[in-house]
């Protein structure tokens, strides 16, 4: 088991390195750098001015060198610019070049500088992640129990009317992407058109002070899309368990149906949904980006959109590290959890 986890972590690190390198490469393509230079300087910069700016700020070094510097395994650049000023990657603000550390990459805990927000990328990500964490907490609180209840109710009596209607509901919810359900919810519950103006149409206020009125719609929008999928998986696993021999034995012994479901079937039926819930995180991340844009909730997803649309290289890299980390960790947890929950599987 220990070896298995070690190997998985090794693959995880390799994946993270590959992914960040791809992001690094794509964001450092010349047209992107040119756009960056023009947004930082002015839009009517000449081609020479662009090159000077990029050269002075270390963007024209070879790609592997830049990646190594960002990672913190190569010493940060110290460049004497064409204007005579010496700029160093590791010297922030007015700090003296001589005092600056040699290495300053992600390994040293330096996330870099966001060119859009003009702030340290690490601190931006920390605050935004906190806000999204709050959102995700409530999403999970609504989605997981809801999905499990729907799935178990549908799966305990396969083919019954309850099963039919709940299955249709879960298909409907998987067929509704966040940008559709969000728009529908806002139209119905946040405008006066249908006489049901119960909630707020934006969640900007919820960043400081979240309450039911301004936070329920975004939470519901994200939760609904994931809910159907988990419910269908739970239903499938529940129907499978309900046809097992030991359930039939229990029935023939005359155990009450509620007892069979709660005591015999439920625990075995919940193994599969656990992995599904864990693997659902990457999709939730997408939902977060859409919903935060739609409801103007300035969290992690909103930051991703801002960073990506302005080619804010270091912030974007930070964002991708965090999201890749979330995706890979949940995959690892789902694998390990599966082994722990299911005694039939043993990994040497």
């Amino acid at each position: 088991m220990g070896l298995f986890i070690l190997r998985r972590i090794g693959i995880m690190i390799l994946t993270a390195l590959c992914l960040t390198f791809i992001v690094f490469w794509l964001t450092n393509l010349f047209p992107n750098l040119e756009k960056l230079a023009k947004t930082q300087g002015n839009f009517r910069m000449s081609d020479e001015a662009v090159l000077t700016y990029l050269g002075n700020n270390g963007y024209l070094q070879p790609l592997p060198v830049k990646y190594g510097q960002w990672l913190g395994v190569l010493p940060g650049y110290v460049i004497e610019g064409s204007d005579g000023q010496i700029r160093a990657r590791c010297a922030s603000g007015n700090e003296d070049i001589a005092d600056a550390p040699t290495f300053c990459g992600i390994l040293q805990g330096n996330w870099g500088y966001s060119t859009v927000f003009r702030e340290d990328a690490g601190s931006i990500i920390a605050t935004r992640l906190g806000l999204t964490g709050k959102l995700m907490f409530w999403v999970m609180l609504l989605m997981v129990p809801g999905a499990l209840i729907i799935g178990v109710l549908a799966g305990m009596n396969e083919g019954s009317r309850t099963d039919r209607s709940l299955s249709t509901v879960s298909i409907l919810s998987t067929a509704t992407p966040e940008y559709v359900s969000g728009v529908v919810f806002i139209s119905v519950f946040a405008t006066a058109t249908f006489g049901m103006q119960w909630f707020k149409g934006t969640a900007t206020a919820a960043m400081d002070d979240a309450n039911f009125e301004n936070f329920f719609l975004p939470v519901l929008t994200i939760a609904l899309y994931g809910m159907g999928y988990i419910a269908r998986m739970t239903r499938a696993s529940m129907t499978e368990v309900m046809t097992a021999q030991y359930i039939r034995t229990a029935r023939l012994k005359g155990v009450a149906f509620s007892q069979i479901v709660l005591r015999h079937a439920l625990r075995n039926a919940l193994i599969a949904p656990f992995t599904v819930i864990m693997l659902q995180f990457p999709f939730l991340l997408n939902g977060v980006v859409i919903v935060e844009t739609l409801f103007n909730y300035k969290g992690f997803g909103w930051t991703l959109v801002q960073a990506a649309s302005n080619n804010d290289i270091e912030l974007l890299l930070g964002v991708s590290i965090v999201s890749v980390f979330v995706v890979l960790t949940t995959q690892l947890i789902s694998d390990i959890g599966y082994v722990f929950l299911n005694p039939r599987i043993r990994i040497a």
Binding site: T15, E34, V180, V183, T193, I290
Partner: protein, 481 residues
């Protein structure tokens, strides 16, 4: 000319009818649920002549009533569609005019269903679909949009106004508004109102279906070709090849989709030509797949093989070259007379294929791992068949069930992805009538005007729902045998 109301004269009869029957339906349903809690479970009892005995008592009566009420509701809903066809213009309200515009679609749907149900025993899996209610509803929804796209895209029917034309005074106009003199198109009303730029929303939604129906299935087919061509050998051979490909697939899957889109679908990246190279790479897979398919089939008859393979390769090769060759990008070497078509949304197409292919790869690989241990594979190996023959003609046909189901689901997912791209304004012009872009335009003023954003949202929802229901029906029917 007066503005249209939602249901016009028709509503004065049908609205109360619908309300009464729906309310009765709800009441009976509640009573039924309450009664069922204390009643004996249903058991089937056969009469001596072999017929089944109906359940008696209050509950039995209620069940019969419920069935009649349900059909009453359905009948009223159908009346909303059929009656306006024989009413004069404008008297049936907005809904009536919409169903009148959609007349060719209704006719095509009815013909499809009548023919399919008549011959369903001879139509294989497709025919079996008509045994499942869920499958039929899903198929109807999907075919509705397919026919809308066909009639709009090929014959220019259904749409009422030019989808790009801006008419002053109709900015954010409410549904049913009268278009000023000289600007009326096929009809003098904006059926679903005007959007933020005073364009007709109904026409935009209908034209938007062409984009989705043309791109989503095609992109899914390409993703399947890539996934199958790589997944079969990965599962069949295993080893290093499999490890490397699986690692690459997991790598792409670990990317949040939106981040990937933002990295791939920007004007700056298009300038570097990466999407063109990706297109050249990804579009090669259908070519490889089809030629290997033909080659392995007729390998023992070289003359026949060459006779079939050569023309196929020429045609496909030409299509391939025209597809990847775009004037003004890095791949631009064909003379203009040879370049058959330009794909304006190449970037969008490529990135959607790229996102979908790894998942298909994983499914195909998993299925192959399972199927390669079967007896018929061992038999083929003993006969001395080649590896690709076994993969394509022994394993693949036996994996078709799950693949067909996933194909339907994946078209739905691709539709969602296309909508996401439009929603973030990536790769598509802001004038584009596709549903994602229209939703994005509409959401900006959503708290004031809801009518521009809702129709495209509902259209997208109904198409994806149809595809999901269709997949569910197919799964159920294919599991039966």
């Amino acid at each position: 000319m007066e503005p249209l109301t939602w249901t016009g004269n028709l509503g004065s009869v049908l609205n109360p009818a619908l309300a009464i029957s729906a309310a009765l339906c709800a009441i009976v349903l509640v009573v039924q649920t309450v009664l069922r809690l204390s009643s004996a479970p249903v058991t089937l009892q056969a009469n001596p002549d072999g017929t089944l005995q109906a359940r008696g008592g209050v509950l039995g009566t209620l069940e019969v009533t419920m069935a009649y009420l349900f059909w009453a509701v359905v009948a009223v809903l159908f009346a909303y569609i059929i009656v306006p066809l024989v009413m004069p213009y404008g008297s049936a309200g907005i809904l009536g005019e919409i169903t009148r515009r959609l007349t060719p679609v209704w006719i095509a749907l009815v013909v499809t269903f009548v023919v399919s149900i008549r011959f369903k025993r001879r139509l294989g899996l497709y025919g079996k679909l008509f045994d499942s209610t869920v499958g039929m509803i899903g198929f109807a929804l999907v075919m509705f949009w397919v026919y809308v796209a066909a009639f709009v895209g090929l014959f220019d029917m259904i749409v009422t106004h030019d989808y790009l034309r801006q008419v002053s005074g109709l900015k954010n106009a409410l549904p049913g508004v009268v278009a000023p003199d000289g600007t009326e198109g096929a009809i003098p009303h904006y059926l679903l109102g005007g959007d933020n730029l005073a364009r007709d929303i109904f026409s935009r939604v209908m034209v938007g279906s062409v984009f989705v129906i043309a791109i989503a299935p095609l992109a899914t087919i390409f993703a399947f070709m890539v996934g199958i061509t790589l997944g079969l050998p990965a599962g069949y051979y295993g080893g290093r090849f499999d490890t490397a490909l699986s690692f690459a697939a997991n790598l792409i899957l670990a990317f949040p989709v939106i981040l990937l889109f933002y990295l791939l679908v920007t004007p700056e990246i298009v300038q570097t030509g990466i999407p063109s190279y990706m297109a050249a790479f990804l579009f090669a897979f259908p070519l490889i797949f089809i030629s290997v398919l033909i080659n392995t089939r007729y390998y023992t008859q070289p003359a026949k093989r060459t006779a079939i393979l050569a023309p196929v390769l020429v045609v496909l090769g030409w299509l391939y070259l025209s597809a990847i060759n775009e004037s003004g990008t890095v791949i631009d070497f064909l003379p203009a007379w040879m370049d058959l078509f330009d794909i304006t949304v190449l970037v969008v197409f490529v990135s959607v294929v790229f996102v979908n292919a790894p998942t298909v790869f994983r499914i195909v690989r998993g299925l192959t791992l399972d199927l390669r241990t079967r007896d018929y594979v061992a038999a083929a190996q003993t006969r001395g068949e080649g590896a690709w023959y076994i993969m394509l003609w022994e394993i693949l046909p036996n994996a078709r069930g799950p693949l067909i189901v996933d194909f339907c689901l994946r078209i739905g997912y691709t539709t969602i992805l296309l909508g996401t791209l439009g929603f973030f304004g990536l790769g598509l012009s802001s004038e584009s009538p596709d549903w994602g872009t229209t939703i994005n335009e509409g959401r900006k003023l959503l708290l004031i005007f809801i009518h521009p954003a809702l129709p495209p949202a509902m259209a997208l929802l109904s198409l994806v729902l149809g595809l999901n229901l269709l997949a569910d029906g197919l799964r159920e029917e294919s599991l039966k045998d």
